[in-house]
């Protein structure tokens, strides 16, 4: 039963929707003013720090001592840019996604630094921080003008009242008290446009910040392409999953229940004439019923294990490992519960991987390791089997890759020549 929507509800919904739009189109003037004023101070600070450090680093670069200074400076401005993204996000109410290229997981310090240096996003960060100072000066002037102009006009009579002489305001000569009183009106009229000017300036700054600090047009296009692809593949995977469940139920539980009902029906017929045969049929039905239960239990667990929701990855994966025919050691090091979609994906990666190990690898030992590291959930499944997994052949692995990709993760398979298989899934889980 649905409750009808009253006029008051509709108004509420409308307000909510509008306030959402307002928040990022036109920031509140007071917050906008504070933000713009802060830009000047922060911009000045960055300008001094960055110019000094870069000048020092570049001039010392010949003697090699400059290199560490430059690298440190780079990390400093990247941190600064992260902070600026947060400031813009809190003013506009919409996050600014960081556009950096993903770093290689196991790279050395130098290779990481090199990856940073060659990332255009890092240089756009620098451009933003340097331009913050000149922009800040302009914004400072705009904000101060926007605040002082109406105040000056409104307080004009006071100025005359305490005995001030003729005054020149821009092109307007104020000579008499009535003229000054007219100034009050002008000032009052100016308040709203000036507030809008402040908000508008902040809006322009937000747009500028998004342009330099956010993802570029190509990155956004690429992202849309990835999203379109993973979305359709996840839909297909879901459909395939439903078909599998349908098939399992149809071939398994449903058939068994038919047999069970038949046994019971026959037993009912024989109850009077042949009690012994009836008893035999009832026992058969009893056995059949227990088999249906077992089968349904396995099927339901395959859809979603209750222990995963209740107790998290560690407990769920320990249970999976416990049922694996190949001995598995489990090492799960997580300090918190992760979002449901991530936990479920991690779980099914492990289930599928261990099923592959049991079916194809001839391994005698397997190991599952799950850690959270620098905003990534890293899942490793290693076995000592014969290897030779073809990532394209196994539909199971392809499905896994799609599940992981749908969460912006990646799946890699390493097969060292001395044997064994190393499956690694990485899923971003920044909190």
């Amino acid at each position: 039963m649905s409750t009808p929507i009253t006029a008051a509800d509709a108004l509420q919904i409308g307000r909510k929707a509008l306030s959402g739009i307002d928040r990022h189109l036109v920031p509140h003037p007071a917050r906008a003013a504070l933000y713009l004023l802060a830009n000047f101070g922060i911009g000045l600070g960055w300008f001094i720090v960055l110019v000094t450090l870069l000048a020092t680093g570049i001039s010392l670069a010949i003697t090699l001592t400059g290199i560490p200074i430059l690298v440190a400076t780079l990390y400093l401005w990247v941190a600064g840019a992260r902070w600026e993204r947060k400031r813009i996000a809190s003013l506009s109410g919409q996050p600014v996604p960081a556009p950096y290229r993903p770093l290689e997981e196991d790279g050395s310090f130098f290779s990481r630094a090199y990856q940073r240096v060659t990332d255009p996003a890092v240089w756009r960060d620098l451009a933003y921080l340097i331009s913050l100072m000149p922009l800040g000066i302009v914004e400072l002037v705009i904000v101060l003008t926007a605040i002082s102009l109406p105040i000056t006009f409104i307080t004009l009579p006071t100025y005359f009242w305490i005995g001030g002489g003729p005054e020149l305001l821009g092109v307007w000569h104020v000579n008499t008290f009535p003229e000054a009183t007219f100034g009050v009106l002008v000032g009052a009229v100016l308040i709203l446009p000036m507030l809008l000017l402040i908000s508008g300036t902040a809006r322009a700054h937000i747009a500028f910040g998004r342009w330099l600090l956010g993802p570029s047009q190509e990155q956004l296009e690429e992202r849309v392409e990835v999203l379109t692809r993973t979305r359709s593949s996840i839909l297909e995977a879901m459909l395939a999953e439903r078909r599998r469940i349908e098939r399992d139920l149809h071939d398994g539980a449903q058939q068994r229940l038919v047999a069970l009902a038949m046994d019971l029906g026959m037993a009912k017929e024989k109850l009077k004439t042949d009690p012994e045969e009836a008893g035999r049929l009832v026992s058969a039905a009893h056995e059949e019923a227990k088999r249906v239960l077992t089968e349904l239990r396995e099927l339901v667990r395959g859809i979603h294990p209750a222990v995963l929701t209740d107790r998290g990855l560690d407990a769920a994966i320990s249970a999976v490992a416990g049922r694996s025919p190949v001995p598995v050691t489990v090492d799960v090091q997580l300090k918190r519960r992760l979002p449901e979609a991530i936990e479920a994906t991690a779980y099914f990666v492990v289930v599928e991987a261990l099923a592959n190990v049991a079916k194809h690898s001839q391994a005698t030992q397997a190991q599952v390791r799950i850690v959270e590291n620098a905003g990534w959930l890293v899942i490793d499944i290693v076995d000592n089997g014969k290897g030779g997994v073809d990532p394209r052949a196994g539909t199971g692995l392809t499905g896994l890759g799609e599940r992981v990709a749908a969460l912006d993760g990646r799946l890699t398979i390493a097969q060292p020549p001395e044997g064994g298989t190393w499956l690694r899934a990485e899923i971003p889980c920044e909190s």
């Binding site: 239960l293 239990r297 107790r311 320990s318 249970a319 416990g322 598995v328």
Partner: protein
């Protein structure tokens, strides 16, 4: 024997109640959620409570939590937990609340009425009953520790049956061997694993579980 039943599905609740009544037990309370269970155990102090893990409002592990809470308030109140799946983790939590008078079984086991009634009686008398699946999970987990490698296959089988809470007689019946043979196996197991030997079945279960969960 006085029994409390906590189960939100009416069909199953009445079914279990009928089984219990047929076996000569008295149902003192039927409840359908966690708080109801805690209150019923506090009020009636039953000989045993039969509890479904999943109950409203969250439909997660309500029953287990309520049972643990009830056992905090009425220490040692025997509880037999029934679940659609058995998870070793839940068994561990249950046993940590004091392993005497606890049971943890798959719901499917109700189908074997005789065994189920026996399990209820065993829990009521302070024993420990674990589902063979839980024990299998525990034994499988230990297998990678390699410490059970010192046992022969037969001894491992006996160990698993011990962990389920079976007496030597029951184990002998199950494995089609004489009781003397089982006793010999048990002595060997306790010797090899360095466990304190004891006759009382539930103490034995505890020793084995402590070893397996170590």
């Amino acid at each position: 024997m006085r029994v409390v039943i906590a189960e939100d599905s009416v069909l199953l609740r009445e079914g279990i109640a009928r089984l219990m009544t047929d076996a000569g037990m008295e149902i003192v309370a039927r409840v359908a959620d966690g708080p109801g269970l805690v209150a019923a155990i506090e009020e009636h102090r039953p000989d045993v409570s039969i509890v479904d893990v999943r109950m409203p409002p969250s439909f997660r592990d309500e029953g287990l939590r309520a049972a643990l809470e009830a056992r905090r308030r009425v220490p040692g109140s025997p509880v037999l937990i029934l679940s659609q799946y058995v998870e070793e983790r839940y068994a561990s939590e249950l046993i940590e609340s004091g392993a005497e008078g606890v049971g943890y079984l798959l719901k499917d086991r109700i189908a074997d009425v005789g065994d189920f009634i026996a399990a209820v009686r065993q829990v009521a008398s302070g024993g420990t009953v674990l589902d063979p699946e839980v024990v299998a999970q525990l034994v499988a987990r230990r297998r990678r520790g390699d410490r059970l490698d010192v046992l022969t296959d037969r001894e491992r089988e006996v160990l698993a049956l011990m962990a389920e809470g079976r007496s030597n007689t029951a184990i002998a019946e199950r494995l089609y061997v004489s009781e003397g043979t089982v006793e010999k196996h048990v002595t060997n197991i306790f010797g090899k694993l360095g466990l304190p030997a004891t006759e009382a079945v539930h103490r034995r279960v505890l020793a084995v579980l402590a070893y397996l969960r170590e």
